[in-house]
Structure formats: structure tokens, C-alpha cells
Symmetry: C2
Subunit: 202 residues, 2 copies
């Protein structure tokens, strides 16, 4: 055998073995249920990761609800685009970041009003996917009662998927989740003096 | 001052300081340019993170091109939804994972055909955002010439954003990127016997 044929041959042997392992794993994974996904960490891509799932869900004819808990601006690309889709209900429920409001009592009231909107969705089985964007902060800042939030998530409709985003997800939320992705900020354009870019950052 | 008033007061003091720091950072970040983002790591949410940016870009009236390099299936929610949008050009260019094809020579030919499609977008300034989904594998498996890929990325139109996704991004690609997010798989439903869910995983 030539060098290239050998490479080809060993590639095939390795890939046959890998395929057998992966096929077995796929066969084992046979449960369907509504998932709770937590996308946390300090890196770029948490909210957009949730928004990408909106696209997937709408593509399969599913109904989506979105609650943005911190954001107050309504000029974002995500709202302009997804908010106008037939099967997508979009709510901007925030009042800006804590350092912008500088008002703890006000933030708590805003959080509670937002949570009431989310609760409706989490009790309504017609929503196949609910995005709770930046909910983590309301838990880590103690703006919402942790037990109320976790119980509502636990008792949601069986086939409803929920995606929670934001930095510093608390331990109890991670524990309840089916999938937790921690996005690490290995490098960020912003730190090199590049400002937030339309279509990428908002 | 009562306990609650004290808490309120110190919250305000901390948040004033934080706001000053953040405002200064925002003032320093004044450059606009096309970004190269790499979303890598073994966790859930890499491709969806790129897809979320499609939503943001379309919401601002921008034009988007998508190349999916590994995937061969055309029944995904993302393609059904984004692929039908006016300003979005969608190409499924893969032939399945290496362990499915088990054919190194065939995979290289497929990769080169896919790269030709991507190259056209990367030379066309009418595309504001180009998604190169799962491109990382074509570099880590040596299916494409690294220098050709990195040069084409470097020489793309100045204001064009590019998002590259996939596990195990090679060091040279990370170095060239403006933003690198590494998604760590802290917990994954799949490992607990839950199969890939429509609207979430595809």
C-alpha cells in the first residue's frame, strides 16, 4: 500500500469504530421530553444561542415565547426580526442593567412584573419553546424568589422546552437543568476597543 | 437608616461606581469593523449562536450567507426557517460526519466543493454576515489548506462579519479571530438518554 492508501485505510478503520460507538449512543438516547437548557458564562453568544433555537423551532412550525428580563431597548435586530413572526410572542420586560437603574427597589418591581409574563407562558402548553433571556441575573441578585422560579420551571408542561440565558447561573438552576453550557470568553473584540456591532451584538 | 435602606444605599454606591467603569469602557470602544467570531468547544449552542446572529442581522436589513460544511440533512428547522428569508442564502454542503462517510478522499472533495461556495461569499461585499457552520472540522482534519482558508478570511471585505463554528478550532484560526467563545459542556441531556429534540437540536 502507498502512504496515501495507508492513511485512507486507517482513517476508515478508525471511523468504523467511531461510528459503532456513536450509533450505540444514539440508540440509548430514546427519551423525548421538554428540556431545560441553561446557557451561561461570561463569553459572547448566550442570547444568540437561544435565538438560534427560536429559528429551529419556528422552522418546525412550533410556537415560541420570549421574555427579555434586563434589556429595555426595543431597537434590537432580534426583536425586529423574530418579534414580527407569526408564531413568536416577544416581550421586552427589563429596565436596563442594575448599574444603569441604580435602584434596587425599582429593579425588584420590574423583575416581578416580568416574571408574571413568563409565568403565563410557563403554564401554557401551547408554547413549545420559552426563552427566558437574562433571567440568571434576577436570581443571582435575589430580585426574584428562587423557589418560586424553580418550582414554576419544574411544573411547566411536560413537552415544553425552556432556555435560560445570562451570566453566573446559580447552582440550583444548573442542577435542575437538562443541559448546561458555560460559554468562556477566550477573546472578545470589545476588549480591543471594538464597539458593539449591529447585527452581531444587538 | 433601616437595614433595607442601608442595603438600598450601598447598592446605589456600588452601581454608580460600576456605571462609571462601564461608561468609560464603552467610550474607549469606538471602532467599527467586520468581526471574525469563532464559537468553539464541546458544548451545546455553537451553531444556534451563529443562527441567532442571522436573526439580528436580518432584523437590521442586512444580507446573510450560510454554509453548512458537515451537515447533509436538509430537514432542519434552521434551514426551513432562515433559508426561506429574502435576505438569506443557505447552502447545505456537507456529506455527513467523517464516521458516517468513512471516506477521507471523498470528504476532501466535498470540503473543496463547499469551500468554493464560501469563497464566493467571502469575496462579495454585498454579504454583511457569513456563517461558516462547522468549518473548524475541515481545518482540524486537514481537509482544506489552512493558509488558503486563513488568507481568504483575512482578505474579505472590511465590514463583513464572519462566524465560524465547530469543535476544536485550530490555534491559527483563534489567533486571527476578534472574538473567541469556548462553549464548555457542563451537562448535556443527550448523555442522560434524551434524544435530539426537534426545534432545539435540529
Amino acid at each position: 500500500m502507498s502512504q496515501e492508501q495507508k492513511r485512507e485505510h486507517y482513517h476508515k478503520v478508525r471511523m468504523e469504530r467511531k461510528k459503532a460507538q456513536i450509533d450505540a449512543a444514539i440508540a440509548r438516547a430514546d427519551t423525548e421530553k421538554g428540556l431545560l437548557l441553561v446557557i451561561t458564562g461570561n463569553g459572547k453568544g448566550k442570547s444568540t444561542s437561544a435565538f438560534g433555537m427560536i429559528g429551529r423551532a419556528l422552522g418546525h412550525g412550533k410556537k415560541v415565547g420570549v421574555c427579555q428580563f434586563i434589556k429595555s431597548r426595543t431597537d434590537t435586530g432580534e426583536e425586529a426580526f423574530f418579534g414580527q413572526q407569526d408564531n413568536c410572542e416577544w416581550h421586552v420586560l427589563g429596565d436596563g442593567f442594575t448599574w444603569d437603574t441604580q435602584d434596587r427597589t425599582g429593579d425588584i418591581a420590574t423583575s416581578e412584573r416580568g416574571w408574571a409574563v413568563a409565568t403565563k407562558m410557563l403554564k401554557d402548553p401551547s408554547f413549545d419553546l420559552v426563552i427566558l433571556d437574562e433571567l440568571t441575573y434576577l436570581l443571582s441578585y435575589d430580585y426574584l424568589d428562587k423557589d418560586v422560579v424553580l418550582n414554576t420551571l419544574s411544573e411547566r408542561p411536560e413537552m415544553q422546552h425552556v432556555v435560560v440565558t445570562g451570566r453566573s447561573a446559580i447552582a440550583d438552576l444548573r442542577e435542575l437543568a437538562d443541559t448546561v453550557s458555560e460559554i468562556k470568553d477566550e477573546k472578545h473584540a470589545y476588549k480591543n476597543g471594538i464597539k458593539a456591532q449591529k447585527g452581531i451584538d444587538y
